[in-house]
């Protein structure tokens, strides 16, 4: 039943992205009084000034880290569908930790936020891995359910007990300024996260293709039975890959807090977990491919937000783009030689 994710090809990625753009153009045509200005906003505006460009790169960084989490899980043959929750709950946990200990020297404060966020994400992901390893519960279902159960709890904390009533936003209090990640490229919110993301892509690439661990992970993902007979321990990889995947999602959440929002806000993840799956698949589950596809996605996302001013329903446009890409990215447009 479990079919392979590496099916399809680079061509599938390209066609999926082109189809998504085509759908976007059509929808913008429907929903916008001035089609041409919406088009210009969608395609050109993200590149026109420092603010848009920087924000685009900033969101590219976050997308990339979450996508690396997906690359690791999917390469290991595990479906982590709990990204949304891992990002959100991780971000909230990191924020709460940062708020609880406000007086640390800056760098330690930032590290505290990031570590708590990653650990929370890793715990959530690892739990699904554990259920799978112990009892064979499909991680595909449990990771989603766990995430869906916890998001309302996180929302409850943000609007309720952890809410900062002095702010008009539905959000927690802000982290102390010393914990914020340094920004470069003002006035955009591009910050150190971007560099971290690129570095992580390089690290995941090395790990995946040049270490024994990465080799074992890939073999495990392609043929669990063979991996077991080669002395690769299943527990390490079911728990490890799901934990690492969740951890990278949690880290994404933590970096979004420390770099951009400086607090946990209602509706925090906003679909980035789903986008990450699309990014990873468009990048053919390759860490370096993910860099390119994260950039592409961030561009599409920025375009969507920019064209929002020109149409009535653009907020959902992002979701539709994700959907179209996911529908087609694993498709085989060429008849495979392989029958099984």
């Amino acid at each position: 039943m479990r079919d392979r994710l590496t099916q399809g090809s680079f061509r599938s990625s390209l066609l999926a992205v082109l189809a998504a753009i085509a759908v976007t153009v059509i929808l913008l045509g429907f929903g916008s009084p001035s089609w041409s200005s919406a088009m210009r906003a969608f395609f050109v505006q993200p590149l026109t000034n420092r603010f848009y460009l920087g924000n685009m790169l900033s969101s590219m960084g976050y997308l990339l880290i979450a996508a690396l989490g997906i690359v690791i899980a999917f390469r290991c043959g595990l479906y982590n569908l709990g990204g949304e929750g891992q990002i959100f709950v991780g971000a909230l946990a990191g924020t709460l930790a940062g708020l609880a200990l406000p007086g640390l020297p800056g760098i330690f404060g930032t590290l505290l936020v990031l570590i708590v966020a990653s650990a929370t994400g890793a715990l959530l992901g690892g739990l699904s891995g554990l259920f799978r390893r112990l009892w064979g519960a499909p991680e595909l279902i449990t990771s989603y359910l766990l995430s869906a159960a916890l998001i309302p709890a996180a929302e409850y904390l943000i609007v309720g007990p952890a809410n900062d009533p002095t702010r008009s936003l539905l959000a927690t209090a802000r982290l102390s300024r010393a914990y914020w990640l340094p920004r470069f490229f003002a006035p955009s919110d591009l910050n150190l996260s971007f560099a971290i993301a690129i570095a992580l892509a390089g690290i995941v690439y090395l790990m995946m293709f040049y270490t024994v661990r990465g080799y074992e992970l890939r073999i495990f993902g392609l043929n669990e039975e063979f991996a077991t007979y080669s002395g690769i321990h299943p527990t390490t990889y079911t728990l490890g890959a799901m934990g690492l995947s969740g951890g990278l999602h949690g880290l994404t959440g933590g970096l979004m807090v420390a770099g951009t929002y400086h607090a946990a806000i209602s509706g925090f993840s906003g679909g980035i977990g789903w986008s990450a799956i699309a990014v990873a698949l468009v990048g053919r589950l390759h860490p370096l491919g993910a860099i390119v596809s994260a950039l592409l996605f961030a561009y599409l996302d920025a375009g969507t937000k920019a064209s929002m001013l020109h149409t009535e329903f653009t907020f959902e446009l992002g979701t539709v783009i994700q959907a179209v890409i996911l529908l087609l990215v694993t498709a085989s447009f060429v008849v495979s030689r392989r029958s099984s």
Binding site: R4, T211, V212, Y215, E216, E225, F226, Y229, S230, G231
Partner: protein, 516 residues
């Protein structure tokens, strides 16, 4: 001549992929009501010959005539229309469906236009196989023994035979993995369909079966028909015809490897070993040991314990009682990891599932066991990896580039990849299952000599195989499992195909040689 239901004239087939001449100028006639056995060594061309009749394989030359109609070979539909039906060794059935549902899948008798008519279905079964009990047919296939599944696949073939005229029924190893009682039932069904006027052709590797059910027997060797004999020709005559006169000496009595040098220390020991699963005992009270330099052949009919032994040696099953020692160390709860770290090498029966990652490259498959030793500063060293893979590629004659995915390789090359990985670096212990499955003669030779060389280098080798010839060829000592127990333990030089075959069938266990 009207009574000849199957006529083949000068049929030849060469596989373009590996260049093997599978069938070479074969001619064959089978009459109405005749039961014909086809025997021959593995790779003698039996299956290809039958596939030419069914149209699965097209012949290069020659003609095939079924029930008076000359067929265009390579057209399964035409063969079916002419009345050819084949029961495969591995029929495609669904284990979750009941027997009845499996038998009529795609051709269901109906009731009220839309409902499956079970009663009519069962009546149709009764018409071709009187013996199949009703409680059996309503069970899901998963709950049947392997012998019962064989019977079901035979009935499936019978149901496809034409009812209003004669047909040709072809069976591939119809009694494989069956108990003697089940085999008797299968024979009765075969006799009944011959009596009903069909022609029956069955492939077998059990020579005693030939005399019991067939009227005539055709021997194949190297793709050629050696001759057709009366069924009472005797196993000795047939065996000689199968292996040929000169080459036969060579394969039947291999030079004993153990005699030429000192046997090494005991590397593997089983003592009163019992394996139970779900309350059933799969292996009972098995004791034997293997020394370095020694090759043990473990054989038996399927489901008589050899799968469980493979499971144990692979770390998939644990023993319930008794002792399992590797290099003097007791292994209490074997896992793949533990066995691997104790130096066990393993070539599984199911190569593609357990033995390889078909989506990974040749090189990635080759380094699976050596992976920890190919690093520098924590990272794989590309040059070391390539050197290692290329050295195995050369040594074992793997005819493929290192970076292509394994699934693009031929079966023989995939085998070589797996074997070269497992045999590399003078292992202490090697378990190799069905070593020459699906291999051409040359590759088979090569693999046999590699396994021998591994033993001579000091490894304890266990060959697990259902193929009698193979264990006799390869092993110094042959152990036969029947019903989970060792019923024979003989030096290969004293073993004959007949004696081993009798032991596999349990004939020695009941103390009456020859009476199955």
């Amino acid at each position: 001549m009207a009574d000849l239901l199957l006529q083949m004239e000068g049929v030849s087939k060469r596989y373009p992929g590996n260049g093997v001449q599978a069938v070479d100028g074969a001619s064959l006639q089978v009459a109405r009501g005749e039961i014909r056995a086809i025997v021959g060594e593995n790779g003698a061309g039996k299956t290809t010959l039958m596939h030419i009749v069914t149209g699965v394989v097209g012949a290069d030359t020659g003609s095939v005539t079924v029930c008076g109609r000359t067929l265009v070979t390579g057209d399964p539909a035409a063969a079916r229309a002419a009345g050819v039906v084949m029961s495969y060794q591995h029929p495609r059935l669904d284990r979750s469906l009941t027997v009845l549902e499996n038998l009529f899948l795609g051709d269901e008798p109906r009731r009220l236009g839309i409902l499956f008519n079970r009663r009519r279905a069962y009546d149709r079964i009764r018409a071709v196989a009187r013996d199949l009990p009703k409680r059996l047919v309503t069970r899901p296939l998963a709950r049947l023994s392997s012998g019962q599944v064989r019977m079901v696949s035979l009935v499936a073939a019978l149901l496809r035979l034409p009812t209003d005229r004669a047909g040709v029924l072809i069976l591939d190893e119809p009694t494989e993995a069956t108990t003697p009682e089940e085999a008797d039932r299968i024979f009765q069904i075969i006799r009944d369909s011959a009596a009903a006027g069909h022609a029956v052709v069955f492939i077998t590797h059990r020579l005693p079966e030939v005399g019991r059910v067939a009227h005539t027997v055709t021997v194949l060797r190297g793709g050629r028909i050696v001759g057709t004999y009366a069924a009472d020709a005797g196993a000795a005559t047939l065996a000689a015809a199968m292996v040929g006169s000169s080459e036969g000496e060579d394969t039947l009595h291999p030079p004993p490897a153990a005699g030429t040098h000192e046997p090494g220390p005991v590397r593997l020991r089983f003592e009163r070993l019992t394996i139970e699963r779900f309350g059933r005992s799969l292996v009972s009270d098995v004791s034997f040991s293997v020394r370095g330099g020694e090759v043990i052949g473990l054989t038996g009919i399927r489901e008589n314990g050899i799968e469980a032994m493979e499971g144990l040696l692979a770390g998939k099953l644990s023993h319930t009682s008794g002792r399992f020692e590797l290099d003097g160390r007791t292994v209490s709860d074997p896992t793949p990891n533990k066995l691997r770290s104790l130096g066990m090498r393993y070539v599984p029966t199911d190569r593609l599932l357990r033995g390889a990652s078909v989506d990974s490259s040749v090189s990635e498959n080759l380094i699976a066991l050596k992976r920890r030793h190919l690093q520098r500063a924590g990272l794989f060293d590309a040059a070391t990896v390539t050197d290692f893979a290329a050295s195995l590629q050369r040594r074992f004659g793997i005819d493929a580039a290192l970076n292509v995915p394994l699934w693009q390789l031929s079966g023989g090359n995939i085998q070589k990849v797996i074997l070269s990985r497992e045999l590399e670096g003078d292992p202490h212990m090697l378990v190799i299952c069905e070593p020459s499955w699906g291999l051409d003669f040359r590759t088979r030779r090569r693999i046999i000599s590699q396994v021998r060389r591994t033993a001579q280098a000091g490894a304890a080798v266990i060959v697990i195989s259902t193929d009698i010839d193979e264990v006799i060829d390869l092993a110094d000592r042959v152990l036969v499992l029947y019903d989970g127990r060792i019923v024979a333990d003989v030096p290969a030089s004293e073993a004959s195909r007949q004696s081993i075959g009798r032991a596999m069938a349990g004939a020695l266990a009941v103390g009456e040689p020859g009476a199955r």
